[in-house]
């Protein structure tokens, strides 16, 4: 069964790049939502949960790690897998966001194979 995806990044360019790369990876999604920051993402997730969220770290309004924490308090996101996508690859940042409830981490720049490898386990 095809899944639903949300891409959370303050850069519209990066959202398009991620969307294109996800499509190139061969992973099929019923719908792909977009959000420009954590606040917008949480509002959308509250109204309509998705299976997988790809989330940037550094964003205005609400950062990725803050969004992860709040999403994990929402029952609508119980089954949502959150994968961080960022150039921010400091070990403490990655450890912190994973401890807060993220399910994976993809570093930029990325390739279609990176998405395939990290998201495939969540597609079954």
């Amino acid at each position: 069964m095809a899944k639903t995806l949300m891409i959370v990044d303050d850069s519209a360019t990066m959202r398009k790049i991620i969307m294109r790369t996800v499509r190139m990876s061969g992973l099929e999604f019923d719908t792909i939502e977009e959000a420009g920051n954590g606040v917008e993402a949480l509002e959308k997730l509250n109204a309509s949960p998705v299976d997988i969220v790809l989330c940037d770290i550094n964003m205005p309004e609400m950062t990725g790690p803050e969004m992860v924490k709040k999403a994990r308090e929402m029952s609508s996101c119980d089954n949502t897998k959150i994968v961080m996508v960022s150039t921010e690859s400091a070990q403490e940042t990655i450890d912190g966001v994973m401890a807060d409830g993220a399910n994976g981490f993809i570093t930029k720049p990325f390739t279609p194979e990176n998405f395939q490898e990290k998201l495939m386990p969540f597609m079954n």
Binding site: A90, Q91, G101, P109, F110
Partner: protein
């Protein structure tokens, strides 16, 4: 590390970083990219003003670790439009036009793409330095300047007009576009203000802060909420009779099916033995959306299902009594608990220390979820396997820090001590589970029944069961498999 060594290391890694950036972008966008380094030179803003006469994009990078301070990555006008145009997939002709006639306004209209170009560039740099230099801390892009930075370099990039810095120039090509200039500017202050011991001290301090943060992490779920999420397996009154009344056709399973069951059972025993000796449990049970979950029609569930529907055909009356065995007679009384706030790594250690295949997740005896070894394996990166060590990155290690509350199975399906094995097996099949916690009247966990417990009970109950697994070549289930 002596200053000259630091500079040499920086120079080598800088060139490697640009090369890696080319590889990364080539992989992302399916284009050819290349770059050629021209060796470091001592330079000033005045000097660069002659090299970068027109527009340029300058990305400020904050560095921590042995290089402590800001440095700058720069691309000329042609590079600015080529790279940003490429990542937003502008038509080739448009990119060529902008390379020639593009204005600052054109560049600013592409500012998001220019910023992301810098972001990707810094991403490649950070990775190369992290992998190539243990004393490297972190790179973070803190600014993007589009314009002519040299006119007021102190204001724009924090470097006085006559201040000398190390500049490493490169020539880069993207696809069929003509080559453009880019480079990196390292202020001399970066090479003098920090010693390796300072870096070590800071790293220790950061580690200590990180540990404290972990300890103080709050567990947000309340036990009461979690308790409400458990689903008890109820026993339908007619279950044994229904099973006994299966049609005659179903009572004689095909030899292949029998072999499959026997083979699975044998594998299960082997797995159980492995679990005992090497503390590597092999089992599975999560929710539908969980990657570690065996589907309801998975191999083991299918085997259990075959067994459920083929009982009447099994030789010996003992199998009938097997169906009516109660959970309390086969369950493992030892259950191991862990907190939902604990990490995957802690769960793995707990499983190994207790020789357990499943952990009950919760606090003070209140069941919030359940976790299996396969759930844990499914949560961590495959690059943690020794065979992939070469490609292992910090993000892979970080998967060990995932909290159990994110991956545990919930709600938890449970059973009562008096629930029959037939019902337990039916539920395991329906929901793709291999372990059911057993609760007493007060809702306290008093044991667990796993698929292996059922296999063991079956072997104990029916002395003739081994004959079911016979193939033309001989008995698949050896007597010594029975306990």
């Amino acid at each position: 590390m002596p200053q000259t060594d630091v500079k040499t290391q920086v120079e080598e890694l800088s060139v490697e970083s640009f090369e890696t950036f080319c590889e990364d972008i080539a992989g992302m966008f399916g284009i050819d990219m290349d770059c050629t380094a021209q060796g470091p030179v001592a330079e000033t803003s005045k000097g660069l003003a002659k090299k970068y006469k027109k527009l340029a994009a300058l990305f400020t990078v904050q560095s921590t670790g042995i290089l402590d301070g800001d440095f700058h990555l720069v691309v000329d006008k042609e590079g600015l439009f080529t790279l940003s145009g490429t990542i937003v997939m502008l038509p080739e002709k448009r990119i060529l036009d902008m390379r020639k006639k593009g204005t600052q306004q054109d560049a600013e209209e592409l500012d998001d793409a220019v910023g992301e170009t810098g972001n990707l560039l810094v991403g490649s740099w950070d990775r190369v330095f992290r992998e190539g230099w243990s004393e490297h801390g972190h790179f973070l892009q803190t600014g993007t300047f589009i314009g002519v930075p040299w006119s007021d370099s102190q204001e724009n990039i924090g470097i006085a007009e006559d201040e000398e810095f190390m500049y490493i120039p490169l020539e880069m090509t993207v696809g069929e576009f003509p080559a453009f200039q880019c480079g990196v500017i390292f202020p001399e202050s970066l090479f003098t203000e920090k010693t390796a011991s300072d870096v070590e001290d800071e790293a220790t301090e950061a580690e200590s802060v990180n540990e404290n943060e972990e300890v103080s992490e709050e567990i947000t779920e309340t036990p009461a909420e979690a308790a409400a999420e458990t689903e008890e397996v109820s026993e339908p009154e007619s279950q044994p009779e229904e099973t006994a009344e299966l049609p005659q056709d179903d009572q004689q399973p095909e030899q292949a099916e029998l072999e499959e069951v026997a083979s699975e059972t044998q594998s299960a025993d082997v797995a159980e033995e492995t679990q005992d000796s090497a503390t590597v449990p092999v089992s599975l049970e999560t929710e539908d959306t969980d990657p570690g979950r065996e589907q309801a029609n998975g191999v083991v569930s299918q085997s259990i299902e075959n067994m459920v529907h083929s009982f009447p055909s099994l030789p010996g009356e003992e199998m009938k009594s097997f169906l009516t065995l109660q959970a309390q007679s086969v369950m493992q009384k030892k259950v191991v608990w862990i907190s939902s706030g604990d990490s995957v790594q802690q769960a793995m250690t707990t499983m190994q220390e207790n020789d357990a295949g499943y952990l009950m997740v919760g606090e003070n005896g209140v069941l919030e979820g359940i976790i299996s070894w396969v759930d844990l394996i499914g949560a961590i990166s495959v690059y943690l396997k020794p065979v992939f060590a070469k490609w292992r990155r910090p993000a892979d290690d970080a998967t060990l820090q995932i909290r159990l509350k994110v991956i545990m199975t919930r709600p938890v399906r449970t059973a009562r001590p008096e629930t029959s094995l037939a019902v337990i097996m039916e539920n395991m099949c329906q929901h793709g589970l291999r372990c059911l916690p057993i609760l007493d009247d007060g809702g306290a966990v008093i044991g667990q029944v796993t698929a292996f417990d059922i296999f063991k009970a079956m072997l104990n109950t029916d002395s003739e069961f081994a004959t079911v697994g016979q193939s033309p070549q001989g008995t698949l289930l050896q007597p010594q498999d029975s306990e």
